[in-house]
Subunit: 434 residues, 2 copies
Amino acid sequence: MNPVKVGICGLGTVGGGTFNVLKRNAAEIARRAGRGIEVVQIASRSAKPQYDTTGVALTSDPFDVVNNPEIDIVVELIGGYDLARELVMRAIENGKHVVTANKALIAVHGNEIFAHARSKGVMVAFEASVAGGIPVIKAIREGLSANRINWVAGIINGTGNFILSEMREKGRTFEDVLAEAQALGYAEADPTFDVEGIDAAHKLTILASIAFGIPLQFDKAFTEGITKLTIADVNYAEQLGYRIKHLGVARRTEQGIELRVHPTLIPEERLIANVNGVMNAVMVNGDAVGSTLYYGAGAGQEPTASAVVADLVDVVRVLTSDPQNRVPHLAFQPDSLSDLPILPISDCESAYYLRIQAKDHPGVLAQVASILSARGINIESIMQKEVEEQDGLVPMILLTHEVKEQKIDDAITALQQLKDIVGEVVRIRVEYLG
Amino acid sequence: MNPVKVGICGLGTVGGGTFNVLKRNAAEIARRAGRGIEVVQIASRSAKPQYDTTGVALTSDPFDVVNNPEIDIVVELIGGYDLARELVMRAIENGKHVVTANKALIAVHGNEIFAHARSKGVMVAFEASVAGGIPVIKAIREGLSANRINWVAGIINGTGNFILSEMREKGRTFEDVLAEAQALGYAEADPTFDVEGIDAAHKLTILASIAFGIPLQFDKAFTEGITKLTIADVNYAEQLGYRIKHLGVARRTEQGIELRVHPTLIPEERLIANVNGVMNAVMVNGDAVGSTLYYGAGAGQEPTASAVVADLVDVVRVLTSDPQNRVPHLAFQPDSLSDLPILPISDCESAYYLRIQAKDHPGVLAQVASILSARGINIESIMQKEVEEQDGLVPMILLTHEVKEQKIDDAITALQQLKDIVGEVVRIRVEYLG
C-alpha cells in the first residue's frame, strides 16, 4: 500500500523532532500503523541544515503545505493563535486531516475547529498539546470512559516545575532559577506564558473539557503564576509536610466546574508531590477507577514528537484498516510480528544484591572479591555489618555492576564452596530504571 | 439508536462491578459512546442478590450467553484457562465481539484467540487484563506508537506489593502479612498465583508482546516469587537507598527479549519505588518519549470494571460512529456537551496556607483566630516561628480546612487591617488529592 503523505508546518524543536522520529522509527511505525508514513513537504521560515530533508519539498510558506493536493495529513507545529488557526481551518476546508501540538490554538479556537472538522469529515488530533509525550488525552477520552470523572490535577508546565524543584532542593530564588532556565533553553526569553500559568491554563482547559464534557472555555480559567513564591514559603510548606507545585486543578462540584491554575501545597507523600525537574504528571480521579496518575516528559523535542507521531499513527490506522482491526491486538500488524527470541534467565543482565553470611575470620572479604573479580563481576558497593550475636556470623552485603546472570550463578556456586561462608548466598536483582 | 446489547459471563467481583458501573454511569457512558449499553443477560453460578438484576435474563450456563443471538458483545469474567477459552472461541465463532479481563487466558491462548477474531471480523479487547483500571495497554499500543520501546517494568500484582509494603513499613514477616492479606480478601486462599509471580508473569507476557511486537510466549517467562524474602534483606536494601518491589521486567537487548518477574531492588528516588500498598504502576521507556509511568489501582471491583467498561465503549464507538469520528474531540458527543458553568475563583473551594507577619505582641493570635472563626474558617494547624532578627516580626503559618475562597478573601482583608499585622498576608491553596 502507498505510504500516507504528510506535510509539516514548522521545523522548530517539535517539527524537527517529529521529522527525526518518523525517519528513525519508520519501519517500526509502519509495522504498527499497517502502512508507511512519508513526509513529502515541510514549511519552515528558515533553513534548518541540521535535518536531512533530502527528497522532501521545502517551502517558506505554510499555506503551500495545507493547499498541497498530494498531502493527506497536515501537522501544524508553528504554535500561536492566528496563523495556526488560519492554516488548520484551511487544511480542514481542503479535506485534510490535522495533527497539532498547539495548546493555545485548541484551548482558544478548538470549538470552532472541531465543528469545522466534523462538517468536513476529517480528523483533528491534538494529544501533544497537553503534557507532551504522556498520552493523557487518550487515557481520559478512551481509557477512563467508564468513569464519572471527579477531578483532574496536573503538573503540566515543565519550566514552572523545574523552577519550583530548584527552589526547594537548592534554596535558590525564583529569579535566580528563571535566569538559569532561560540560559538552558527550558524557558523562553519572555517567560510569561510559563511562569504566569497561561500555558498551564491552556492545557487545563483542554483536560477539563474532555474530563467533564464541557465546551472549551479558556477565558474562564483562573490563573495565578509562581512569580511571587518565596523560599520562605517553600521551606515552611516543607516543615509542614508539603511540597509546593504549580498545579492545574479542574474539579466537578454541584455548582459547576472549578478551573484553576495556581501554586499549591500538596502532601509530600503523594506521588505527584515527588515529580521534579521538567517532568509532568497528571492525576485523574474517577468514580470507578479512583485516582490514577500519568507521568513523563511534558515538553522537549522528541517527547512531544512522540505524541505527534502517535496521533499520526492513529489517523493512519483509521485510513488504512477495517474499523474493527484499527489497532492490532498485539500493537503490531499480525503479519509483521518479530521473531526475537525470549532469552533464558542465564542470558539476562542486571545488577545484583548479594548477601553472604560469613564467619568472622580475616581474609573472607578478599576471597569473595577474588571470586567475583575472576568472573568479571565488578563491585559497586560493599556493606559489612557487625557480628550478629546469635550465630557469630558477619552479614556481608554487596551490590554489583550489571552483568550476565550466568556469571552470578557461577560466582554463587563458588562462594558457597568457601568454608567460611555459611548457608545460602541471597541474590536479588537490581534495576536502576534510569 | 438502539442500545448495544451485552451479555456478561461471571457475576463475581469484576462482573458485579461491571454491572454496577454500567448502570450507575449509563447516561455519562452513552454521552461518550454515542449509544446506550444494555446488559441483557448474565451467567452466574450462584444467585447474587446484592445486584439488582431486574430486567436482565439470568442463567447458570455461560454458553447461553455466548449463543444468545440477541447479544452483540460478550464480556468474559469467569477467569481461568479452559472454560474461558471455550466460551471466548464460541462467542467469536458466533460473530460476537469479546471483552475480557482474563490475563491467564490472553497470555496463554491469546495468539489463537486473536487469529480466530481476525478471521471472523470481530473485536477482542483486554485492557482489564493488565494493571486493572490503569489504561496501560492503550498507552503502549496507541499512545506510544511512535517509539521503539526499550523496556517495560511494572508493579503489576497488588497482593505482592501490599505484602512487600507492609514488610518494609512495619517490619512484619512475609507469612504474617500474607495471612492478613488473606483475611482482608486481598489474597486468595491459595495465594500461589500472586506470591509466586505467575499472575504478574501473565501480565508481563502481554505487555512485552504489545511493546515489542512479539507473539505471546508465557511459557518462556522467568518467574521468581517473593516467598523467600526476609526482613533482613528489606532492611539492608533500605540502608543502601533501595526499595524491594516484585517487578515484572521486559527489556529489548541485541540478543533478544528479557522477560522476567522477580523481587527487585529499585533506587528509592524513583517514583515507582514509592508505589505502595495494593497499587500498581507500569513504567514504559521509549526511544523518543523517554520514561513514562502509569499508576493506579491494579485490581478491585470497580477499578477493574473501569477498564472492562472502557473496552465496551471502545467497541461501541466502532459499531456506532464513522471511523473518523470514533472518539469525539472532547470525549463526549458534540450534541451532548454539558452546560455546567465554570465557577469564578471566589466560589471555588480548597484548603489554604496563610502566612502572616505579625508584631511580637500578646493577643495577635487571638485576633487572627477570631477573624477566621467569625467567617466559619476552621484552622487545621498553626506554626508560630521565632522572632525574626531583622525586623522583629513573628511569622505565623496557618493551614485551614476546606472553605470557599470568598471567605478567605474576606478574612485576609480583615487581617490586613489589624495594626499588629505587617505587609501582605501570603495565601497559597492546598490540595490533598487523596
